[in-house]
C-alpha cells in the first residue's frame, strides 16, 4: 500500500465493502500508522451516531388494531371500504393470562391506578358449558393477586365477534344516543384486558360501561384505563374466574345519531277529510355503523350537563367536568340523572311504563335490517308514554351505516276530519289570503293516542282524476300534544282573494275648546270588501279588519256573513263563499278622536 489509507478505503473496511485484498492491505497499514488509526476511529465514532436512531420500536396498539380491523373489513363485508378510514368502536381483547411469564414491569402510577382488592375466593367450579366450550380452564390454578401491567406491545389482539344485539335510544333534543350492545366475549381465567377504540366516532368515552350478563359473580370489571399518549382508546381490566364465552353488555353514549319526523297529508277531493301518514327518518353521522339495531326514539327535552359531541372530541376522556357523575353510572338506565324532571329510576323511566299502545301499520319502507334488501315487511313504531316524554320503538331491527339515513313509516290515519279555512289579515300577511287546514289530535279525528313530534307536514289534494295529486302546501309543526288543535298554514292562496277598497272618507262632529280650537272630531270611512272564490269548492273565509283605536263604531251592509269583535280594536267577518262566486259587503267605520272619545269609555 502506497501512502496512507484513504477515507474511502477505511469506510469500505469498516462496513465490509472492501475486497479481501484491500481489507488485508488496509489492516496491515493501520497496524503501523497512528494517523490512519485516528482517522478510522474518528470515522467509526461519527458513524456510531447512527445508533442514536437505533432504538426498539413498539407498535402502538391502535395501529395493531387498525391492521386487524382492516383485515377484518376486507373480508366479505367491505362496508366502508377505506382501509385507512377509521375504525368505529373496534373491540379487541388482550388477554394477559397467557403472557404472565413475560417481563413484569413495575406499574407506573399514572398508567395503572391502584387496584381495589378483589374478592379472592377459591376458584369456583366452572359450569360444564363453559368448560366444554373452551377446554382451557385451569380451575385449580390461582389467579394472580395483582393485576399484570400490560405494556402496549405485549397485548395479544383478537378481533371480537360481531355484536349479538344492539339497541339505540335516540334523544333527539340533545343530540344524544344511548347505545347498548351485547357481545360474546371470550375470557380466559385470570386477568383480561378489553380494549375499546373510538377513533373517528362521536362516542363519549366517559360514558363507557360494561357488565357481564352471565357469571356476574365470577367476572369483575375492575377499572377502565386510558393509557397515556394513546388517543381514543381505553382498556378495561377484568378479572375472570371463568374461562370461555360470556355475553357482556357494553353501554355508552354517542352523538351524531338523529331522527326527525315528517308527515304527508292527502286531502280528499272535497277537502273535508285527510289521510295522514307519519314517517321517521333516522340519520347516522356518528362515525360508527350500527347493524341490526333495535331503534328507539325519544320525544322530549333532555337536559345535559355537557354536550356529548364535545366530550367525544376531547383528547382525554378524563378531566371532564362531569366524569365523577358519569363514571358512577353503572347501568344505562341511570341516564335518568340527566333529565331535568325525570324519574330517578332510569330503568323505570325507560322501560317500566304501562300503556304501550301500538297503532298504525305502515307499508312501503321496511325490510328487516338493511337497505334495499329483505322482504317488504311493514314496520311498526310502538309508542310508550314516559311521563312528559314519549318513547317510539321501531319494530324489528334496522341497519344504519355511518353517513346513511333511513326513512321508516311511523303511523297512518285515514279519514281525519279537517277544516279548510282561508284568512285575510293585512297586519299579518299583507294583501295575501292565506290558507289553513286544521284538525285536532284526538280520537274524534282518528288520532290522539300519542303526541306528534315536531316535523314538516306536506299536504296534497287528491284531485279525483285518476288519483292525481295536487300540491297544496307545507309547513313545519311543533310538538303536538294529545287533544290539541293543529292549524297548518299552507301558504298564500291563489284562488281565493279578498279585496278591500276605501270608498269614502270624511270627518265630522268637530268639537272646540273655549278658545275656539278643535278639540275633537269623528272620522267616517266607508269600505267595500269583495271576497272572490274561483275554486270549484265552497270555501270559508275569515276577514280581519283592524281599526287602530279602541274608540270606534261600525255598521255593516251587504252579504257579510257573521261579524264579531276580535279584540278591542278589530272585527272578524266569517263568510261562506260558494264555488266560482263572490260576495261583497260594505261597512262604515266611525272612529272618535280627541274629546269625542270622552263619552265613549
Amino acid at each position: 500500500m502506497n501512502g496512507h489509507a484513504s477515507e474511502d478505503a477505511l469506510i469500505r473496511v469498516l462496513f465490509d465493502l472492501a475486497s479481501d485484498e484491500e481489507r488485508a492491505a488496509v489492516q496491515a497499514h493501520l497496524e503501523t500508522c497512528a494517523a490512519c488509526r485516528a482517522l478510522r476511529d474518528r470515522l467509526a465514532a461519527r458513524f456510531r451516531s447512527l445508533d442514536e436512531l437505533d432504538e426498539p420500536v413498539d407498535v402502538p396498539p391502535v395501529l395493531l388494531s387498525q391492521v386487524a380491523t382492516g383485515l377484518r373489513r376486507r373480508r366479505p363485508f367491505g362496508v366502508r371500504g377505506a382501509w385507512l378510514s377509521a375504525i368505529a368502536a373496534v373491540l379487541v381483547i388482550g388477554s394477559l393470562a397467557t403472557l404472565e411469564h413475560l417481563v413484569r414491569r413495575p406499574q407506573p402510577e399514572d398508567a395503572m391506578p391502584p387496584v381495589a382488592s378483589a374478592p379472592r375466593s377459591s376458584p369456583p367450579r366452572l359450569q360444564d358449558s363453559i368448560m366444554g366450550s373452551v377446554g382451557l380452564a385451569k380451575a385449580d390454578a390461582a389467579i394472580e393477586e395483582v393485576p399484570p401491567f400490560a405494556p402496549a406491545s405485549a397485548i395479544e389482539l383478537n378481533v371480537l365477534p360481531r355484536r349479538d344485539a344492539l339497541q339505540l335510544t335516540i334523544y333527539n333534543a340533545a343530540d344524544l344516543t344511548l347505545v347498548r350492545e351485547t357481545r360474546e366475549l371470550t375470557f380466559k381465567r385470570g386477568w383480561n384486558w378489553l380494549q375499546l377504540m373510538w377513533a373517528n366516532t362521536l362516542i363519549d368515552p366517559t360514558s363507557l360501561s360494561l357488565e357481564p350478563l352471565e357469571h356476574a359473580d365470577k367476572i369483575e370489571v375492575q377499572q377502565l384505563v386510558y393509557p397515556p399518549r394513546l388517543r381514543d382508546l381505553g382498556r378495561w381490566l377484568i378479572r375472570s374466574e371463568v374461562s370461555g364465552q360470556v355475553p357482556v353488555r357494553i353501554t355508552y353514549m354517542t352523538s351524531g345519531l338523529s331522527w326527525r319526523a315528517f308527515y304527508m297529508g292527502t286531502l280528499t277531493p272535497d277537502e273535508k277529510q285527510m289521510h295522514l301518514a307519519g314517517y321517521v327518518r333516522v340519520d347516522n353521522q356518528s362515525g360508527e355503523d350500527y347493524e341490526n339495531a333495535q331503534v328507539r326514539l325519544v320525544v322530549g327535552r333532555v337536559h345535559l350537563l355537557d354536550r356529548i359531541a364535545d366530550l367525544a372530541r376531547r383528547p382525554q376522556p378524563y378531566g371532564s367536568p362531569i366524569p365523577d357523575r358519569l363514571h358512577s353510572l353503572r347501568r344505562a338506565g341511570d341516564l335518568s340523572v340527566w333529565f331535568e324532571n325525570g324519574d330517578q329510576d332510569g330503568d323505570k323511566l325507560l322501560f317500566g311504563m304501562d300503556g304501550r299502545n301500538a297503532w298504525g301499520m305502515m307499508g312501503g319502507m321496511g325490510g328487516m335490517g338493511g337497505f334495499g334488501g329483505g322482504l317488504p315487511v311493514p314496520k311498526e313504531i310502538a309508542k310508550e308514554g314516559l311521563s312528559e316524554y314519549f318513547l317510539y320503538t321501531i319494530e324489528g331491527t334496522e341497519t344504519i351505516p355511518h353517513q346513511w339515513g333511513k326513512r321508516l313509516p311511523s303511523f297512518e290515519a285515514d279519514r281525519i276530519p279537517v277544516q279548510s279555512l282561508y284568512k285575510y289579515d293585512e297586519e299579518r300577511w299583507g294583501g295575501q289570503t292565506m290558507r289553513f287546514l286544521s284538525f285536532v289530535n284526538d280520537s274524534e279525528h282518528e288520532l290522539g293516542q300519542t303526541p306528534l313530534p315536531d316535523g314538516n307536514v306536506a299536504v296534497y289534494r287528491n284531485t279525483g282524476q285518476e288519483g292525481h295529486l295536487a300540491y297544496a302546501g307545507a309547513m313545519a309543526v311543533k310538538y303536538i300534544p294529545v287533544g290539541e288543535k293543529v292549524e297548518l298554514e299552507l301558504g298564500a292562496a291563489q284562488q281565493v282573494k279578498v279585496e278591500p277598497v276605501l270608498m269614502d272618507t270624511k270627518t265630522d262632529h268637530y268639537a272646540f275648546d273655549p278658545k275656539g280650537n278643535i278639540s275633537g272630531w269623528d272620522q267616517i270611512d266607508t269600505w267595500r270588501i269583495t271576497v272572490t272564490n274561483t275554486r270549484t269548492l265552497p270555501v270559508k273565509v275569515e276577514v280581519y279588519r283592524h281599526f287602530g283605536t279602541t274608540y270606534w263604531e261600525q255598521t255593516n251592509a251587504g252579504d257579510f256573513g257573521t261579524c264579531e269583535k276580535d279584540g278591542a280594536d278589530a272585527v272578524k267577518y266569517i263568510l261562506a263563499v260558494e264555488p266560482a262566486s263572490k260576495k261583497t259587503f260594505t261597512y262604515v267605520l266611525t272612529t272618535y278622536h280627541g274629546t269625542r272619545r270622552e263619552n265613549r269609555r
Binding site: I11, R42, R46, S49, L50, V59, L63, V67, L71, E156
Partner: protein, 195 residues
Amino acid sequence: MERSDRGLLEAHRGGDPQAFAELVRRHGPAVLGYLRKMTGNADTADDLFQETFRRVHEKAHTLKSDRFKPWLFTIATRLALDGFRRSRRVTFLSLDRTEGPDGDGQTGADCLADEAACEPVEVMAKDERRRQVRQAIGGLPPRQRVTLVLAYYQRLSYPEIAEVLGCSTGAVKTQMFRALKSLAQRLPEGVGEMT
C-alpha cells in the same frame, strides 16, 4: 416450538385468525422502525405500516420461498419509495400529533420523564444529535437511504438487500458506499470525537 413465518402465513391463508396477528407481532416493530426512518414522519409510517400488512395479506399466495423477511421488506420498501415519489408533489403534516418528527412518539416531556435521561442538558444534546442524524439520512437519495436503513438498522445482509431491491449484491454495495461516504460528511461528530 415456534412456527416459521412461512408456516404462519400458510396458517393465515387457511383461516387461522391468530397466525396473522403473530406475524404482525413478530415483524411489526422492525417494519414500523424501518418505515419511520425511511419517511421521517410517524403518520406516514403508520399508514405505510398498515398498507404493508394489507399487501402481505393480499399477496400471501405469491410467497413461494421461505424468505419471508426480505419479501416483507420488499413490500415495505416499494411502498416507501412510492411514498417518496408522491411526497415530491404534496406533503401532509399532522397538526394534532405531539410527537417528534422522527416518529418515535416521544415528546420533550416524555424524554424529561425518562429515567435514563434525567439531565435536561443531556436530553437537549441527544435531541440535537438525533435531529442531525435524521437530517443526514433524510438527505440521502431514496435507494441509498433504503440500502443504509436495511443494512444498518434492520441488519439485513447485502444479498438480502439485493433481493429486496431486485438488483445485484455489487449494486447494493455501491449504494451503501455512496451513502456512507455522504454520511461521513453530514453526520454529527461522535461523542468524544476530537477534531
